[in-house]
Symmetry: D3
Subunit: 307 residues, 6 copies
């Protein structure tokens, strides 16, 4: 079973302008083959399907716990897309404004026609994420090798989208995910090493440019977030500690100082506030004239409280 | 963010035989247009994307909280598929057994070739679930109408798959989801009614056969599970109570006696044990000769414990 | 069987300029999940597949007759796309003009490379309409609920595309379809109400902005077209009258005056002229130097007439 | 615009048994690349998109008129699928019968789970028909060459499905479509010949086995149906006569005697009765206990008649 | 089996500027339904699957040998796309340049995010080439008719992309493929004529504008390349000569003078140099700081040579 | 450019019976995500797209040369499918036999309806191979890591299909490809090791069962084929030798004795005869009554020879 916490993994700044092209590119990182829908669903199905789970608990717990973290990653990528599409708007858009008329030619039409300027589980072409992106072979070593590859493929694409945008909300999300993806890649490398003796972590980072080169990532490293694997469960998955432990290499630490030991944190991160999205009357979201439903919601809430 | 609990919503019996055809049909309920991947992702993206969230908290909380429950539903449908594929096997299959040679002609090849006899996010054709199944229009009434339709479409397909199989694991899962889907359909009906004044619940059940007719569902109704909306969060989404409350109609209660008031339960259900899946050497899951990785896992675990 | 009439449901003005971006956006309303291909094919397959047809003739006739009208809707949306792509050109484009060189970056390439600047059954991404958009469950109430949802989803997307373009041809088509879609939504609401007692029409319009707010729609309402269901058959489907009758609500009439009773018209509308599309030599449509085929066609025609 | 007639092109016998495998194979001829959805939509979009229509009326009318006939072809292929799935059942299936439990392993699950044992716009894999099957290049000769190829590809696949089934309903439909497809192939051959001078009809039939070899087709040829192009419009498309005229070759006549001149018939065929589909309670089609909706329909109808 | 030669069919000029829009449009000719992936794979699978091969060697050899040539065509179209994306860059891009930030709005995101500014087997929408584009019916006449149609459809789309770009690299590739595609269309026409007596070549060119009108094609015709079918095998497929022989028609020669007899050349063309692609540090291709891997490659090479 | 040799990599035995289910399963290895179409096209596009090729020739040559070998692999997998579908038939099937009537329920319909009982570029679901399976990131290390993963994923699926069939033709093909895939996996491991220092080959084989356990593979190992990388080019790609050299590990040799040094062979293998496929009249392949086209082919050939 799953629980939900009404917090983002980390708070995002408002996008200083409406930026549909950044939103379109960031979609690749949500619904593309190497997007967060893929990391989430690959690890989730591997966790559902693992054979001999009781006998390989450390590996089961690692994959399952990372799967749980990835839920927050589809959330934060969606939030970044929503920030890009929303820009700095905080007030309900006027009914007689026609903002939809200013859509740039290269925007993703679905953002406007289908989704009232919010995220969809599609890639930068607008093509949907598909279950065929899920690899769940049942062979533990092959699944881990896949996951190691997937994390590095995802990192490469994130680095490129970073190059393609100056958007503050997008880059903050990217900086955070560079760091968390780095944790996951290292975790899978360590799992593979324990099983095969092959020192996969020596291959990292792929591409060969460290996270500390990116200010949006560096700030999180300075807080030690690259050393921490969180536990995303009230009581389970403590066996991750048997893989995520020991000293990090100098290369991984990137000369930043601070902690040198990997740390399994017994809780999720405290996280940040969700992105607030103003209503847009001309997109009919949450409605053309939503005052009535605001009032209904208010009354329902009041009545429930008074009970 | 999301947390994970290492429990199924409800425990499933072992399937008394290997039943790949049931497994194939149940896939429709996982990865089809009306499968649990769809309910999960529709509500999840609607929750990510809701505009004016602060002003419509009861509706936001309802959709978000149900989304969290749906995570457990992809898990239990996957578990049912895995039970069907696994049958009563509890011991590691011998290396020199060639069980793959006995696959029935109409089986889904991917279960054997790709997934070591476990579930995949695909439908009964083997076609992948796709993000194009997600509807997130931003218009609150339209999204709720969609969700009401989706729950009823999902119920109809589940009822038909029930007719197509006698498999105990599959039917137990179905009975539980008939009941939980019924809760969700009613919840969306109540939300729509509060917003539009239209008495949608009068339309239920669709099709016009009550859950109590199915013994696997009736047992859960006798425990009052159809009256309860659980809260799937450590601290959030309490505003659901402002929609999920009041007396249920006689039709909804189906003459079963017991509770007559809808109840918002301040916790997830206690749930049941996960399905255990024996290793299969001839499918190389978790490996051809997995003793070595069992031992490695054991050592890692011991070492971690001793720290 | 089907017959064809060489008329559009309503005549469209020429687009005052070549407008490939409007054409791309309008494609969503032709080949998207909520496009006219979907309304056409959903109702058509429901009509092919209805069980117990003889016993539920009013519902069968309603769905089948609306299906027939939808054929004219894929035609008029295609005509609007063609107008956008064609602009005011009435003469054959010169052979040595290279108009294809002025395609805006965000245009849909298929309009130019595949289709000689005309419509295709694809959505605004260029992704094809697919048969998976068809819902034909065989359960009458569920199919009607689907159709009610589909019409409202289609309306929402049309309203947004309206916001995204000032193109006269596109907006005239949209105005007409706002009105006809409104008729269909109300017809399905009335059918559902007769079967379940639920007053679905109270939910309309979705979104909560009336058609009369849009001048291109209002003109058709002033002619009473929102009160009329046409019969699209030489002799059949007269049973629609048993559902489409009675007084319309004040909300539906939108204070426009005129007729107050719904009317089943015993013929299709008289319609308007088809859009004329000039040849384009540099797109080789109908050919690079089409004079020869014009002459052949002329001779064939003359010979046939003289017989 | 389009009109609908509540008749099939030709009446089909009931299938003597429930035959889901035949139904699955026949789906290829409905929703496959060479299925009737493809012929229908190819010609329909070519008719919407034709440039210089006024100057090439004979070709425009030919394509448009054949497009109208193809509407009846998706109908009759659907009817054949429905016959195969329905078998000889004429009474409503009992509620406590569980016919869904007897589905053969290789059946198409969607027929049972989604569509209550009726047709869907998908191919024999269950994959949906897609708009990417539509070819509408705007170049008249290329479009006609495509259509000629499409008809021959469709014939080849139909001949093979004929080989794969003994089902009477399927074979009757096939026999009729061998003949009508032969008319269309010849019509496109004649159109191409008039434009290019190339004697395409000499290539026919592809494959090189005549329709008269198949008793289900031969009966229609004996009635002269292979010599007739029908006009599917109240008033339009008379220009077809300028292409469809003259003597047929001996090869085309296949030594059957009878008419030797091609004939343009100024009306659609009289057609046959629609296939009747019994309700199936256990599939909830039209409902689980449909008596209530039968009664409602009856009352509506009575009330409408009495007005 | 297949061999590879490290040469392009013909050398391409560098693109004078970075031109991602041309690159996107040219993708249609690589991965679209009528792209070179389609010609390659259609003929390749027809060659794998041909029944009675020994008895129809001339046709087998023709299709197989053209299939081999098409391998070079996916290569040259990819090279043209790469030239468009690369422009005149010959030096490794600096690490701190952020060229990805200058991507035009309408570019294909995959070129930047997935492929480091190189080609992918997708069409101009970014949708992947699919195996469903392969037609391999086993009927020799139908397969040849398909191939004839495919070549003409491919030509039409190439002519349109030519109209859409002034890019020198793209147009050089197009000029060459106009000529080679012309050879293939004529070869299939001759094969069909030998089998059916129908003079298909009279239909050419489609569209009715000769290759000699395009300077980039004319230069190759002046060298007689339109008269030559090359043999792409060390020893096989000599039977092509029995179809590709005889005098070409005046229309085919287009008044260019030179050779008048078709010629089967007993070798592949000498070809031209491959396109050189500079590294791009900011795309991490071949790496962020590739000096190390350059050095490794160098050492490996030196060591191997010294052995 | 590419050349073709009219030989299979290795000769396959005839399948002792018609085995459509084996054919369907083997399709996964041709057109699935891990099929030979994927290995072929991944390496081919990586070779087209490699940046800085001149500076990393050993890696470029390795990938390009393996790509060329993979061409032969789609050929041999297709040949195995064709053997399974064809069985021991060597004579043209009689016209009045109706073999299509005996198709097992779970067969892939496309084999019969579309392809006259031969292979198609689709997977075991019948879904087409797609260009989205191609990974060509431009980052050399990431591409090599992908290729290493792809080879191991492909091996795992091949091992499972081996378990699912006793068919001699399929198993011979599989045995050969176990060995050749092993060579490719080791080659990519060595390339990665040279670039990163990580000893990837220690991870092999995945799954942990050696090829020598399978008699169909062991015979090729006894001939030393696992030690040899062939050069598939008249003159190019000799730089492979700088990676493919040195002693193989004992684990790789699997105690078989024989050669201990990896060997770069300066030619392709001699290969085996192509599979012969009898005509099938009732599938119209190569035609219904093909005598005429046999005779035409014969005359063409004679005429050409006499020139």
């Amino acid at each position: 079973m799953f629980l939900r916490i009404d917090r983002l993994p980390v708070e995002l700044p408002a996008s200083p302008e409406v930026d549909p092209i950044a939103a379109k590119n960031v979609q690749e990182l949500l619904g593309g083959r190497f997007g967060e829908m893929s990391t989430l669903m690959n690890y989730t199905y591997q966790s559902f399907n693992m054979r001999g789970r009781d006998k390989i608990k450390p590996f089961y717990s690692l994959i399952t716990n990372i799967a749980a973290e990835e839920g927050g990653h589809i959330e934060i990528v969606s939030a970044a897309i929503n920030s890009c599409l929303n820009g700095p708007r905080t007030e309900m858009e006027q009914k007689d404004s026609f903002p939809l008329d200013e859509v740039p030619d290269g925007a993703f039409g679905g953002h406007y026609i289908a989704a009232a300027q919010t995220a969809l589980p599609v890639d930068s072409r607008g093509m949907p994420w598909t279950g065929d992106y899920v690899f769940s072979s049942g062979n533990l070593i092959l699944d881990l090798l896949h996951n190691f590859f997937l994390e590095n493929g995802a990192r490469t694409q994130k680095l490129r989208v970073y190059q393609m945008t100056q958007n503050k909300a997008a880059r903050m999300m990217l900086g955070y995910l560079f760091v968390r993806g780095g944790v996951h890649a290292l975790a899978y490398a360590k799992a593979l090493e324990s099983l095969t003796g092959v020192d996969m972590k020596k291959m990292l980072p792929i591409p060969n440019i460290g996270n500390a080169n990116f200010p949006e990532a560096r700030q999180f490293m300075e807080r030690g977030i690259h050393m921490q694997l969180y536990r995303f469960s009230p009581n389970d998955y403590k066996e991750c500690a048997s893989i995520w432990n020991g000293a990090a290499t100098a290369e991984y630490i990137e000369g930043l100082g601070g902690k040198t030991e990997l740390e399994f944190v017994d809780a999720p991160p405290s996280g940040g506030n969700l992105v607030n999205l103003a209503g847009i009357a001309s997109s009919f979201a949450p409605n053309y004239a939503p005052e009535e439903i605001f009032e209904i919601a208010n009354k329902l809430y009041a009545k429930a409280k008074n009970k």
